[in-house]
């Protein structure tokens, strides 16, 4: 279970970490109750400032995805009620931002990126 930060990306590092952990929680790879590394450990391993990782964790906590308790560290929150529409939209927008940023970095236009998304969607359809 690896988190990777692209230093050349347009997406700030804290956002990259937040998105990856969110995706792992949403897909069930990180189960409820799973413990995340301490902020200091993850910051050291990724070669980032402690504040950068702290911001990712704060945003994950604000979204109700993780719970931080003194002495217990940060754990994945138990899956409760389904996400509100606003939160769902917020996450989709964040994922779209990341996708478009990657497309731009690879020299593709937004239209090409949307076409590939449609192709993927049609492939995934049974």
């Amino acid at each position: 279970m690896i988190v990777e930060v692209d230093p050349d990306s347009f997406v700030p590092p804290y956002e990259q970490i937040r998105q990856q952990i969110t995706a792992m929680i949403d897909s069930g790879v990180l189960a409820p109750g799973a413990r995340l590394p301490s902020i200091r450990q993850l910051a050291g391993d990724l070669g980032l400032a402690v504040n950068t990782v702290a911001r990712s964790y704060r945003e994950l906590e604000a979204a109700g995805l993780v719970v931080s308790r003194v002495g217990n560290g940060t754990t994945v929150a138990a899956s409760g009620a389904p996400l509100s529409q606003a939160e769902r939209h917020r996450r989709l927008r964040a994922a779209a931002d990341a996708y478009l940023a990657t497309a731009r970095r690879l020299g593709s236009s937004a239209e090409q990126a949307i076409d590939i998304l449609r192709q993927q969607e049609s492939h995934a359809r049974p």
């Binding site: 690896i2 988190v3 450990q41 993850l42 990724l46």
Partner: protein, 267 residues
């Protein structure tokens, strides 16, 4: 002994300590030693992870030898100032412990090839056996009880309460070093390199906690033995046996085999 003689002797001992350190630094790490390390952690040696272990063993040996030599030098100077002969184990233990701490400060984390890291938390229970995790708390408790008991002898020796200062200081330093070892950077790397890095962390934690526990307990035992010097009886006998058993137990704990527990979350 005049102050000039003490100064000359201190200088001579410093040179000896420096020589011991230099020899320890240059002596190559033997293949057997690397294999013994690997066996203790059930580690498979590869061309990629062996250099990490050799570097770690060389660094720890250099600084622990320097600490031991420094402790011996300090002991000799103190003995000469009080016109007595002998070797005090507490000085050697303190020197070795100090050297072990410096060594841990010198050991570097894995070099980062890319900015990627595992989400597995590094916790003490992955790297230390239960007895090793409990050694320091139990030693602190035993040291405080011993110190309290030695203080009741009321022989007017202010030195009896030294463990009350040393014990919290050692505990704090061990805790800080433990945090440093756990938080040493470990970016994503091939599995064999990660396994070696985890084994190194485990060995570091074993050495630091075991030597800290030994120092705390032996220090209190040393003071208690001084308090009952000249007495006889089962209590004195138990303490004398403790003077041998505590360093032996510390050594056993520091060198105990331990297979690092796998990541709690799949990689």
């Amino acid at each position: 002994m005049s102050s000039l003689q003490t100064l000359a002797l201190t200088a001579a001992l410093s040179v000896v300590a420096a020589l011991v350190t230099a020899v320890a630094a240059d002596w190559p790490v033997s293949r057997q030693r690397v294999q013994r390390f690997a066996d203790r952690h059930d580690l498979h040696l590869t061309p990629d992870n062996s250099p990490l272990i050799v570097a770690y063993l060389a660094t720890t040996r250099r600084w622990r030898a320097a600490g031991l030599a420094g402790g011996l030098a300090a002991n000799t100077v103190t003995n000469l100032q009080h016109s007595r002969i002998g070797v005090s184990i507490i000085y050697l233990l303190a020197g070795w412990f100090a050297g072990a701490l410096v060594a841990e400060a010198r050991v570097a984390g894995l070099p980062a090839r890319r900015r990627a890291a595992s989400l597995a938390p590094r916790t003490l229970d992955r790297y230390l056996s239960r007895p090793a995790r409990r050694a320091l708390p139990w030693s602190v408790l035993a040291a405080l009880l011993l110190t309290a008991w030695a203080a009741t002898t009321d022989d007017g020796q202010a030195g009896r309460i030294v463990p009350l200062i040393v014990t919290p200081a050692v505990t704090l330093v061990v805790w800080l070093t433990t945090q440093r070892v756990l938080n040493r950077p470990q970016p994503a790397a091939p599995a064999d390199v990660l396994a070696a890095d985890n084994a190194i962390r485990s060995r570091s934690l074993h050495a630091v906690t075991a030597s800290g526990a030994t120092l705390v307990l032996y220090g209190a035992l040393d003071q208690a033995l001084t308090a009952v010097a000249g007495s006889s009886g089962p209590v004195v006998l138990v303490m004398l046996l403790g003077g041998v058993a505590v360093p032996w137990f510390g050594w056993r704990l520091a060198t105990a085999p331990w297979v690092v527990r796998p990541d709690p979350v799949p990689a």
